[in-house]
Structures are given as C-alpha cells and as structure tokens.
Amino acid sequence: MEENRPTQQQYVQNRAAVAPGEAGSLPDDSELLHRSARGDVDAQHALIERHGRYLFGVAHALVGHPEDAEDLVQETFMGAFRTRFRGESSVRTWLVKILMRRAGMLRRSRRREVSSVSLDAAAEQSSSGVSGNGGGMADAKMDLSVMLQTLSPEHRQVIVLRELQQMSYEEMADALGVPRGTVESRLHRAREELRKRFKGYL
C-alpha cells in the first residue's frame, strides 16, 4: 500500500529543504545545470535526484501512463542538459516548461493519449491501489492523476501550470505558446469541469 505518497505541497517543502543558501556547500540548481551541460554525470544525477520524482508526478498527471511519464521525464532532462538556462525562473519551473513542450510533442506523435476516463473508472482506479488511497468519498484525497485524467490534455496543462507551479497568466501563455486570452479561457473551462465533477470534494 502507498499510504504516504507526497503531495505537491510536500514536494515544495522538501525542495525548500535543499534550496541554495540553506544547503551550505551544495551547488545550486543552475550550477548543476551548467555542469550537466558539460557532461558532468554527478551533476546530472544530483539534478535527477532533486527533481526527478516531482517531474514524474507532473508527467504522470499529464499523460496518465507510467511508461510515457518516464519517457517524458528522460526527454525533459535530456532537453535540459542540452539547452541554455537563462535564469528567468526557478530551475524546477523551467524543467516543467520543457516537460510541457515535450508532452505536447509526445501526444501528437503517438496519438495514444488517454483522452478521457470516466469518473467511475477513475474512482475505481483510485481505490485499486494503483494510485489511490481508497476510503470514503468525503475525506479521501483524490489523486492528482485521477483528477486530471477527466480533463483534456490542454486543460491538464493549464491546471498544472497554475495550480502546481503558481505561474501567472503571462508566464503560462509564454510556456504554452498561446495567447493570454486562450490561457484564461482554458483555465476557466478546466476549473468549471473540475468543479462539476468533484463537487463533493469542494
């Protein structure tokens, strides 16, 4: 049983525990990225240790398959090690942006995204031990992946960027390459759908 799987909030707290400044002599993420780009395997491992679990959680919420999520995280790190980090955001936010872009490419190339899972099926999956914790509807925590699988891929993206990454509308528009108005309308529709589907949780 997976009783104590971390939430977004716990990932943020854990991340803060190794933030530069508090971590003494540990190199910060941008330094690790720079070393990774030069082929420093230890630096690559350190970045994967710091961000791999979180990125996998986000990737799984986006694509719904563990294998695809793993591929996506691998491609994200590969892209990160080959791309210049300009320091316009945290490294984690930048990694999530790369992941989003790669997820879009993966979806269009494979055309086998789980497009929509019924709420019943999602609830069944949640209580099967695959990704959920079962229990009563009133106090159970719905898995992020299960919640988002009811949304279209575009709607999942905006929810992840806004609710998990706390990005502004402008940042989301930049990350997704769409106008700000499109971001807003997608966010409204995504939330509306979630509000309707998970009324009992709110």
Binding site: R5, Y11, R53, E70, M105, N133, H188
Partner: protein, 151 residues
Amino acid sequence: MSCDLLEKIHAYHDGELPAAERGALEAHLKSCSDCSELLNELQSLSRVIAAAPMVQISNDALRRLRDRRYVLPDAGVLKIAGWLTAAAAAVLLAALLVFPKQQADNNVAAGADLLDTVAVAPPTEPTDSNRNDLVALAQQMADELSTNDRQ
C-alpha cells in the same frame, strides 16, 4: 452571472485582477452569494489540487533515469552543422542575387526549380498543430548551438 464577472472572479482568485478593480469586486462579493460561493469553490479546488497525492516514480524507474547516459552533442559536429547551415544560406543568397527578381516573377516554375536545387523543401506545409513544435525545435537547436559555442 455574466462572463465578465466570471473572468474577474477567476482573475481575483489568481491574483491577476488589477488593483483598481479589486475593491469593486470585493464589495460585490459581499452582496452576491452566487459569486462568493464560486470564489469559495475556486479556493477549495486549489487546495484540493495542491493536497492531491502525486503518483510516485518506482525505484526501478528512478534508477533508469539516473543510469541513462545523457549523450550531449559533440562540439565538433555542432560546429560543422553550423558551418553547413551558413554555407547553405550563402548559396541560397548567391543564387537569388545571380537570378534577377524579374526573371523569377516572370517564371515562377523556374524559380521553384532553382530553389529546389539549393534547399530541401519540407514535404508538406506545416499545420497549425505542429507549427509550435517546429518553432520550439528551432529554438532548442539555436539554444544548443549557443550553449555549445560558449564552451
């Protein structure tokens, strides 16, 4: 509830509503139960999502992530690719200078033939769905070249 109001409530919840409009909206929220209920639900939804457990990566998958050899582009290959790109651009420019515009205007087919000799055309016109990918790919290629140049 009007669409305009709906947008403002979402923007308010996200901290995106301009300061000049916040006071009026807050006053409205105090007098409108529908709108205040919507705001409460948005806040609750954000809390539920933030508290939702994320699927954990298996130890095997994490090990595979770590053990994978992330092959980075070789500096020499990239430099040659950069030279080839510059050479192709130079050939294209030279061809356009050698063949006057008027000739190309009068004979579109001939111009197309010329271009075919100096550039490889994409098999199809990019669609809206993959245009962003192409732009992103071009951006990444440029970034990679730039990154490599700095080393």
